[in-house]
């Protein structure tokens, strides 16, 4: 967390901090972004895809630990693993076997869960085109000075990512969504990480500036999972995210590690697949980009000395007498007339109408038809 304090009062007694202040201010305005956002998506449903939820939660945990608050994280989990009835330890999601690290934690806030994780909702979150009654915690309220981290995990293939076993998002749609974000000035720089099979195909089609992408495997390769836990019965994490989590555990908010170290995470010897990355659309040199530019948070703090007066509300005295309502007033209910919602024609109307029709018919065509009918 980088803090910049701008004081509204001249610090006449602290001359030695003036150069430091200037230096911090200069550094603050040179980094280019003023706030950080993260969109973390797990797209798989069913208990045997436990590892995808654990992947997303471990990135969520690192991002929160490095300073991004819950209000700036949009977390989408397609299924609930922690309170799933098959989980032998409820309210926990583990990333290491022998239950060493509970990545679910005690203060997690999931914004989109269950059936809400769909391709449409994901693209609406990215482009900002949400219905007006959507609450703030479900919106990506980024501006042109935001650095956004987008993490996707699930089952994928060459050019697509599967959402909840029923629909897919293609790399073309994703690239177009990022272009919409660029044209609407919704990001300053964007880091895209994907951990699926053939993940590199998802960033092949990007064409907007300031995008950096990482994937866990190349086209034609599968991303493999790391280790099963015999007590829980499923694989706990995918290899790429497991080593990414290990790498991120060493990062603290003031660390100066840059992106080149991130590209070296999980080489082929550990991951079996070849992780890939793409930096040609990124304007800065990856060696000068800090990890905390995307995974951590920049917050600008301004301290003010003015006091604000709070006015007392004026109370109006009502003289009406109130009472509690009867919970089951049986006599009232029995004599309640049910309200007619739909309009029905008055009784006898249909009968009169048919009589009229018959009379007109017999008048026109003569009474001789009558004996055929009766």
């Amino acid at each position: 967390v980088h803090l910049t304090i701008s004081q509204s009062r001249a610090a006449s007694s602290a001359n030695h901090i003036q150069p430091l202040l200037v230096d911090n201010a200069g550094q603050f305005f040179s980094s280019g972004h003023t706030n950080n956002w993260a969109v973390l998506v797990c797209t798989s449903r069913f208990w045997f895809n436990y590892r995808h939820v654990a992947n997303t939660l471990s990135v969520y945990r690192s991002v929160k630990r490095l300073g991004i608050p819950d209000s700036h994280i949009v977390l989408m989990l397609a299924d609930d693993m922690a309170c799933n009835h098959r989980n032998p330890k409820p309210a926990t999601v583990f990333s290491h076997k022998n239950m060493e690290l509970n990545v679910y934690g005690d203060d997690v806030e999931v914004d989109y869960r269950g059936y809400e994780v769909t391709v449409e909702n994901f693209l609406r979150v990215l482009t900002g085109r949400l219905p007006p009654s959507t609450p703030r915690s479900k919106r990506l309220l980024s501006d042109d000075r935001s650095n956004i981290l987008i993490y996707l995990t699930g089952h994928g293939g060459n050019g697509f990512l599967k959402f909840q076993d029923s629909e897919e998002i293609s790399n073309v749609e994703l690239a177009d969504a990022f272009e919409q974000m660029w044209q609407k000035r919704r990001y300053n720089e964007l880091l895209f990480i994907i951990d699926t099979c053939q993940g590199a195909s998802m960033y092949e089609r990007f064409y907007s500036p300031n995008l950096m992408a990482l994937a866990s495997s190349q086209v034609g390769e599968d991303s493999l999972s790391h280790q099963p836990d015999l007590a829980i019965g499923v694989h706990l994490m995918d290899r790429y995210t497991f080593y990414l989590l290990e790498f991120l555990e060493d990062i603290h908010p003031a660390s100066k590690t840059n992106m080149n170290d991130l590209f070296k995470v999980c080489p082929k010897s550990q991951c079996v697949s070849t992780p890939g990355h793409r930096t040609d659309l990124f304007l800065r040199d990856p060696g000068s980009v800090l990890i905390t530019d995307f995974f951590g948070s920049v917050r600008k703090v301004e301290i003010t000395m003015e006091t604000i007066n709070l006015t007392d509300p004026i109370k109006q005295v009502e003289q009406r007498k109130y009472s509690y309502v009867d919970q089951l007033p049986v006599s009232e209910i029995i004599h309640q007339k049910p309200k007619q919602k739909d309009w029905h024609p008055p009784d006898g109307f249909i009968l009169g109408l048919w009589t009229l029709i018959l009379l007109v018919f017999f008048k026109l065509y003569g009474m001789k038809h009558l004996k055929h009918i009766f």
Binding site: D80, K89, A91, G105, P135, K315, Q327, L328, V330
Partner: protein
């Protein structure tokens, strides 16, 4: 000299008097201007050992605030009352709001009646103020905002699962008019409750989860239980016994039942540390009262279980039609914590018995196949000689088409005609069925309500990603006034423990109770979603092979061709061509 001293002392006295008067005046003026907006916070925990060896813990956190959200003056200074809920109340003109999230089903026959009943999944019912013009639009916006506050998928509440009951769910707060046009009720039986719902719930408390009883709310223990329910209830209440002014009450309740075998390893020995993996060290400093009640009614002489540390404070309260005795631990007193500065209550069992609940209900689906079925609801009246009326509310989704002409209500084998029926048929994809009936349950009997239904075929985009799991039907609600053995307390403003003052009591001889049945899980006829691909492959193959060969046969023209001659003949033909002679 003496004169000077005298005048000096007089001056000093006068100055002092003037100062004191000014101070008093200023204080009085401030008190007059600020005689409003007082808020109060109370917390309590009730622990009731159940006869099956399980233990029932019920937390209640109550904030009362003397303010008026409705009069147009914007309330902007929030102290104990959470700002997010205050803004929801004033923006959407809410008169009462009740929302609950539950995991598990309350087993009435084994555990008795809960203090606050709730159905499995999520349940939301709201009374709006008279001034709201578009109730449906406001309801939709309110559910979206609440889904953001509680991290739940409440945005799936729409017109297909919202009903407007005509007689059930009368307001629990004060109010003179009850026009049911302003009531909306919806339930999501599929909704999962996990730590992400507990986190924002805990953030609404004044002390958060840092001090007081909320310290015990750790998700790893709370969700490893047989039943977990957390709820938020907002309603206007009387400020004093005259009831001329109202204040807003926010109650946050959390009910949890810990299983004997999961949490206590089979031994009938419970302690705060075993239940919550924490002990208590202090009360919430912002709370005016912070108490723990342990139900010792079945244990007057200590022969069934023993509680340690012992406490001399005892209190009696009438709750759920029964007079119960409780040991009270007052956390605002420092002696409760003893020398170790922490409180860990221990309850050790010997054997136990239970009061049989007077009303409980069951529901199940009968029938076979994927076309038709029958819903059976059974209501048990266990009172030996008194009969009482119950109001049954059933809300069935539109894709189970109910045949109301097959509705039968039988008690003890004979037909039992309900004295009030309100039925609103469903409209496909628009609204669900609503059935409300007032049935008189004869004493010591089982009343069975059956209705047949037919399953509809949905459009293929309307199926969930896991359609073979089934589709949920929300719980039925049975509201009733059950006769009480002990006289209930109708004086609503006397100082009472929170758990006995949840439902307002109008008469002494009966108490109001709400029982929820199980939700149902029905299978709808589900298409095989992998079939389109197979069908395309098969069809294309058949078309290519069958039609292609037929087309070739019809349009191919045949030409007669000589067979090619042998090598010798070919050489001879070449020589003859060179000579100019016709070939062989």
């Amino acid at each position: 000299m003496a004169e000077q001293k005298f005048s000096l002392s007089v001056c000093v006295c006068v100055c002092v008097c003037v100062c004191v008067c000014m101070c008093v005046c200023v204080w009085a003026v401030r008190a007059m201007m600020c005689g409003c907006g007082r808020d109060d916070f109370q917390e309590e925990l009730v622990i009731r050992p159940l006869h099956s060896g399980d233990i029932y813990a019920s937390f209640q956190f109550r904030t009362v605030w003397e303010t008026d959200f409705m009069r147009g003056n914007k309330v902007s200074h929030y102290r104990l009352f959470p700002k997010s809920l205050g803004q929801v109340i004033s923006k959407f003109s809410v008169r009462e709001l009740h929302i609950s999230f539950t995991q598990g089903y309350w087993r009435t026959m084994q555990w008795g009646q809960p203090f606050q009943p709730s159905p499995p999944g999520a349940e939301l019912w709201v009374w709006f103020q008279d001034s709201v013009t578009d109730v449906d639009g406001t309801w939709k916006e309110l559910t979206n905002v609440l889904s953001g506050i509680f991290c739940a998928s409440l945005n799936f509440i729409d017109s297909t699962n919202t009903v407007q009951p005509s007689a059930s769910f009368k307001p629990l707060g004060i109010g003179n008019e009850t026009d049911h046009r302003f009531l909306r009720y919806a339930t999501l039986p599929r909704e999962i409750v996990c730590t992400e719902n507990l986190t924002p719930w805990k953030k609404l408390l004044p002390c958060g989860s840092k001090a007081g009883l909320a310290v015990l709310l750790k998700s790893e223990k709370l969700f490893h239980s047989s039943f977990h329910s957390q709820a938020v209830h907002i309603r206007p209440v009387c400020q004093d016994w005259q009831c001329k002014t109202t204040s807003w009450e926010l109650r946050q309740t959390l009910n949890v039942v810990f299983d004997l075998h999961n949490s206590a390893q089979g031994k009938r020995e419970w302690s705060l540390f075993k239940m919550f993996s924490r002990t208590l060290t202090e009360a919430c400093p912002l709370a005016s009262s912070s108490k723990i009640y342990i139900d010792i009614t079945d244990n007057p002489q200590g022969e069934q279980f023993e509680v340690s540390p012992a406490t001399p404070l005892l209190s009696q309260a009438v709750v759920l039609g029964d007079r119960r005795t409780f040991s009270v631990y007052d956390l605002t007193q420092q002696i409760t914590f003893g020398t170790v500065r922490s409180l860990n209550l221990l309850i050790r069992w010997k054997s136990s018995d239970m009061l049989r609940p007077l009303l409980h209900a069951e529901r199940y689906v009968a029938g076979y196949g994927l076309q038709t079925g029958e819903i059976h609801t059974l209501m048990y009246n266990n009172h030996p000689y008194r009969s009482f009326p119950v109001l049954l509310l059933d809300s069935v989704p539109w894709y189970l088409r109910l045949y109301i002409h097959t509705l039968t209500v039988t008690s003890k084998g004979k037909d039992n005609k309900p004295s009030y029926i309100h039925y609103q048929p469903s409209k496909d994809r628009l609204r669900p069925h609503l059935l409300e009936m007032l049935v008189q349950l004869p004493p010591n009997s089982v009343t069975e309500v059956t209705v047949q239904f037919e399953r509809a075929l949905l459009k293929w985009t309307e199926y969930t990603p896991d359609p073979n799991h089934g589709f949920y039907v929300g719980s039925s609600v049975i509201s009733s006034l059950v006769p009480s053995i002990v006289a209930m307390d109708t004086n609503s403003t006397r100082e009472r423990p929170l758990f006995s003052s949840f439902f307002p009591c109008k008469e002494e001889s009966s108490y109001f109770v709400r029982v929820y049945t199980e939700p149902l899980l029905v299978n709808l006829p589900t298409p095989d979603f992998s079939m389109p691909y197979n069908v395309i492959c098969l069809t294309c193959t058949v078309v290519a092979v069958g039609y292609g060969s037929l087309y070739n046969l019809l349009t191919r023209s045949f030409q007669i061709e000589e067979p090619s001659p042998g090598l010798a003949k070919r050489i001879a033909n070449i020589i003859r061509k060179m000579r100019g002679v016709p070939p062989l």
